[in-house]
């Protein structure tokens, strides 16, 4: 009985915690099967209560093999050999909770935490910024180089979870995880970042536009690691903004938005990018509505018109956290806010 109660509490927490409706539906489906006493068929996921044999075996995650390479080459050799049986372990702040729930059951974990060459923040030759995938989120947040070359990233970091999680979670881990409610994928997209990925087969660069392919899915092949994220330099008179609405500080956003606006010398809009998070399976870039800004002197009225129009390009999901209508309302409000802040910042630009 106690097992069942604990199991139900687990499931309840799971339902509360998972930001995505499809995931929750999947959990409900599996929960029903479990309560009926049937074993579900998926090999990948088992919702057997982790406490079922607590006496002999008080472990939350299922067993797995573990390697902690100290060089990138060694790490890549494991992925070449084991393919998708092997899973990279970065900060573990998303992967280990999923393993504790037995939602993820990797056979082999390749721990990247002992590869110092993957953690760095560097300015690039042409005024951009290059961040190693294993750089801790907290390090990115505190970095003067990031503040100088990619201020949008600095100001967005505090929206991610809590300090204790950012102390451990990595910049690359968040991007590779590609949670549609997470902040960094949207920011990488709005900044037009390049993703450098590597396997034993070689190295390639994937533009942010092509990196996020679906819900928790990226363009990474099973044997590829995300190595480095490069953010290009932006022209003068560029302003940035990020904002989101969440139920509590540190929670995943119900809806979030980020904008980058560049003005020309006369003060008219040269470029305007607007990206939303938590409104679909991956970050969504607005293209039609923002085209109204190009070449224009941006007024509050014009921003209102754009904000009204963004919903024509969005198809947000409804779930227990927020209805479709509420998400549409938030999208409009956030579009107005981030565009206003970004435009003002671009106007105040001083070299």
């Amino acid at each position: 009985m106690i097992y069942l109660t604990k199991h139900l509490i687990f499931t309840y927490l799971l339902l509360k915690f998972l930001p995505n409706r499809d995931w929750r539906l999947e959990v409900v489906k599996r929960e029903r099967t479990y309560l009926r006493g049937e074993k579900h068929t998926s090999q990948e996921i088992s919702l057997q209560p982790p406490t079922a044999n607590l006496q002999q075996n008080p472990m939350k995650p299922p067993p797995f093999k573990y390697h902690a390479p100290t060089t990138l080459d060694e790490a890549l050799s494991y992925f070449a050999e084991y393919g998708d049986e092997a899973k990279p372990l970065a900060g573990g702040q998303s992967l280990i909770p999923a393993m504790n729930f037995r939602l993820a059951q990797p056979e082999l974990l390749i721990d990247l935490n002992n590869i110092p060459a993957l953690a760095y923040i560097r300015a690039t030759d042409n005024g951009g910024l290059s961040i190693g995938a294993m750089t801790r989120q907290r390090q990115v947040e505190r970095s003067d180089l990031v503040a100088k070359h990619a201020p949008l990233i600095s100001s967005t970091m505090p929206y991610i979870a809590h300090i204790q999680i950012r102390n451990r979670g990595t910049f690359g881990g968040s991007l590779a995880h590609a949670d549609p409610s997470s902040e960094l994928p949207a920011v990488a997209l709005v900044l037009d970042a390049s993703f450098h990925v590597q396997s034993q087969r070689g190295r390639r660069t994937i533009p942010a536009k092509q990196f996020f392919t679906d819900l928790f899915e990226t363009a990474l092949a099973p044997d590829e690691l995300l190595i480095d994220i490069t953010i290009p330099a932006k022209p003068a008179r560029t302003g940035y903004a990020f904002d989101e609405v969440a139920r509590r500080h540190g929670d995943y956003a119900l809806v979030g938005a980020t904008a980058v606006v560049t003005l020309d010398q006369a003060g008219a809009c040269q470029q305007a990018q607007l990206v939303f998070l938590s409104v679909g399976p991956r970050p969504v870039a607005i293209t039609q509505a923002t085209s109204m800004l190009h070449g224009q002197t941006i007024t509050p009225n014009l921003i209102d018109t754009v904000a009204e129009a963004v919903n024509q390009e969005l198809d947000p999901p409804g779930d227990i956290h927020a209805s479709v209508d509420y998400r549409r309302h938030l999208a409009k409000v956030l579009a107005r806010r981030v565009l206003t802040v970004a435009v003002n910042e671009a106007r105040d630009y001083k070299r």
Binding site: P63, F64, I96, P97, M99, H162, I163, Q164, I165, R168
Partner: protein
């Protein structure tokens, strides 16, 4: 049964050597293998903050780190705040929680203390907003947080 690996972890200045399965969580290592039960576990998926410890000086959740990942690292748990505690020699944070009623059942307290120790070391003069922000990663079901905020202000005063 998967293979076990020898690991050495320093907790509160003492070295512990054990053989562990890779899947053993650091929180379970601290509680079950070493017997330091001041570190509590609430949710075991990173949400509640009760399992917070210092890992090489930084506050982290011990329930979403594997014990094997702490091999060769230095940890500090709530037991490390005051080695032989009496009412007189409590760490200023502990004393302030006591004096300002920053706890009721106390289940969450060790997580709060371990979150706050590095925070106050770095921010000796925090504003109320900063205090509330750092507290946002820890859940308390009893106090309503108001007295915890007061306790942090008191501790900051004592430690200056």
């Amino acid at each position: 049964m998967t293979e076990k690996y020898p690991i050495t972890i320093t907790i509160n200045g003492t070295e512990y050597q054990r053989e562990v399965e890779p899947r053993l969580l650091l929180s379970d290592f601290i509680r079950h293998e070493v017997g330091l039960t001041g570190t509590h576990v609430g949710c075991e998926h990173g949400v509640c903050g009760t399992c917070t410890i210092l890992f090489d000086g930084e506050a982290v959740r011990s329930c979403i780190i594997l014990a094997i990942q702490a091999n060769g690292h230095e940890l500090k748990t709530v037991e490390g705040l005051t080695p032989n505690p009496t009412l007189e020699n409590l760490h200023p944070l502990q004393a302030s929680f006591r004096e300002a009623h920053g706890l009721q059942c106390g289940f969450c307290t060790s997580g709060f203390l371990m979150t706050l120790e590095p925070f106050l070391a770095e921010n000796p003069n925090p504003t109320e907003m900063e205090i509330r922000e750092i507290l946002s990663g820890n859940i308390c079901r009893c106090t309503g947080y108001q007295h915890i905020v007061e306790a942090v202000k008191l501790a900051a005063e004592k430690m200056r």
